[in-house]
């Protein structure tokens, strides 16, 4: 059971990191106090993980079945990659770290299936596009039909505020549904945990990250959403949540941060302004290549190290 520590550590860092896009704008805009947002988000992560989250476990299982040791090494390598990259200020995607780590272990053990990998690779490219479309359509509609929002200041702000609270809950639900497999997927694959228990432990670990460390992340790191006003932030979070939710239903874990980058670009397309600079896009590309590579090398190194010790 001690091997789960690596997974819990991963879940904790995922929860802390995801908070910036999950409810950062909601807290910063004053729509909700931090603790209200953090508690609500933790509850909805749990609901998402327990209701839909187990769907994504199958995808990790399809890449390659894990042993207890390989599951531990995958989680450890992915967790270390996330921590290392966060410390270096580089973009972090837990999904890509886990996939890279599974590949690293799988290639040395000779147990990697190509078909699910193709599906996952395609989803990485489609995630920002999904975010873009999911933000472009509602924002375009809002620009075409501005009367959809009340014009009176107090009512308008009230509607935006309620909207921010609702999308915060929805995006937390979608994060739990989609990303819980990143935390405990390999342990479910190894047979250590049942899908239900995996979803529960994964969601609790994410919740722990949200409750214990996300305030600092929101205050220091921020996200691509920081420059957006309340309405566009609301739409970007909604788009992120829709993207995560759709992929959760399909059963593919994807990166929340890349969905949000796509959403911000979608809003920029409607506004006719560039909302994302070249460096952010480079970071997305790095997320596709760099994160899984580092995690893969690290997990392969850990496997070799374990073999030497054994």
């Amino acid at each position: 059971m001690w091997t789960l520590v690596a997974g819990i550590f991963m879940g904790w860092s995922l929860g802390a990191d995801a908070a910036a896009s999950l409810f950062g704008p909601t807290v910063r805009s004053g729509a909700m106090r931090f603790w209200t947002a953090a508690i609500l988000a933790s509850i909805f992560v749990l609901i998402g993980a327990m209701t839909v989250g187990s769907g994504c476990f199958a995808t990790y299982d399809a890449i390659g079945t894990q042993t207890l040791l390989s599951a531990f090494l995958v989680a450890l390598a992915a967790g270390l990659t996330i921590t290392l990259m966060a410390a270096l200020g580089l973009p972090v995607s837990s999904t890509q770290a886990v996939v890279g780590a599974i590949l690293g272990v799988g290639l040395l053990s000779g147990g990697v299936s190509v078909a699910p990998l193709t599906k996952i690779g395609l989803s990485w490219v489609l995630t920002p596009i999904g975010g873009l479309v999911a933000a472009y359509i509602p924002y375009k509609l809002l620009v075409l039909f501005p009367q959809a929002l009340p014009s009176r200041l107090v009512n308008r702000v009230g509607v935006i505020r309620v909207g921010l609270v609702l999308v915060t809950c929805y995006s937390a639900y979608a994060l739990g549904a989609n990303n819980v497999a990143n935390v405990t997927g390999v342990f479910v694959s190894s047979g250590l945990l049942s899908p239900t228990l995996g979803a529960l432990i994964g969601a609790l670990a994410i919740g722990l990250g949200i409750l214990t460390f996300s305030r600092r992340v929101i205050e220091t790191v921020g996200s691509a959403l920081v420059r957006l006003d309340a309405v566009t932030a609301l739409i970007a979070i909604l788009a992120e949540a829709i993207t995560l939710n759709v992929y959760a239903v399909i059963g593919i874990p994807v990166s929340a941060s890349q969905a949000i980058v796509g959403a911000v670009i979608g809003i920029g397309l409607v506004k006719g302004v560039k909302t994302i600079d070249g460096r952010v896009l480079l970071r997305v590309l790095f997320g596709w290549v760099g994160t899984p590579t580092i995690a893969g090398l690290l997990s392969a190194g850990l496997v070799l190290g374990a073999r030497l010790v054994a």
Binding site: S29, Y139, P150, S151, R152, L153, V154, R161
Partner: protein, 216 residues
């Protein structure tokens, strides 16, 4: 959850109440200035100056109430900041009106008859200008960005008119054969009188900015 909506409504009502007190201060300021120049009744002007001060104090109280309600979490952070700036802007008009009366009445400014009409013209412009301030703020709260922008534009025009009258007053004043000390004293009065429109122009800029930001 709907508590914040109630606080939002409270802020809306408080801003309108604040506006009403500033309107009262501006109206008393107009009466006091006319009592001084037209009726030549300094005592009446002094009495009205005290009334203006009271209206300004009431406006201050309401402004503080607005600040308190906003700090308690009404609306969203960006709207709070914008509304605070607007309420502060409205408040400066009452302050400027009060300051102008203090200068005129307490220092018994001896305005030459050749220059007096300019003071009354500036007063008229300031009064009309306040109507546009009122219209701009009410439209903003009602969500009518276009009317807000129109009002802000009219405030700018009134401010330009005040500048012209002020410049003409200065030229006329310094062409007169009176003591330089008196000229400087009167010039000081015109400077504070024109301050009302300057502050209204700042407020108009703020109103225009908020109205423009409302566009998606």
């Amino acid at each position: 959850m709907l508590g914040f909506w109630k606080r939002g409504e409270q802020v809306n009502d408080l801003i309108l109440r604040h506006l009403a007190h500033v309107r009262q201060a501006m109206s008393l300021f107009g009466d006091a200035t006319r009592a001084y120049f037209v009726e030549k009744d300094v005592e009446k002007a002094r009495r009205l100056m005290v009334e203006t001060h009271k209206a300004e104090s009431l406006a201050d109280d309401v402004r503080r109430e607005v600040e308190k309600t906003l700090v308690q979490g009404a609306l969203l952070a960006p709207s709070r900041r914008q509304l605070l700036l607007i309420v502060d802007g409205i408040d400066t008009l009452a302050n400027a009106a009060q300051g102008t009366l203090h200068y005129l009445v307490n220092q018994s400014v001896d305005v030459p008859p050749e220059v007096e009409p300019f003071a009354l013209k500036i007063l008229e412009e300031s009064e009309t200008l306040f109507e546009d301030v009122d219209c701009g703020v009410r439209s903003l709260l009602a969500g009518d960005a276009k009317t807000s922008l129109d009002c802000a534009e009219r405030i700018d025009r009134h401010e330009s008119a005040v500048d012209r009258f002020d410049a003409e007053a200065t030229r006329t004043l310094f062409a007169l054969n009176i003591e330089l000390a008196r000229k400087m004293h009167v010039r000081g009065y015109f400077a504070v009188l024109a301050l009302i429109s300057d502050r209204a122009e700042d407020l108009a800029d703020q109103v225009a900015l908020v109205a423009a930001e409302r566009a998606l």
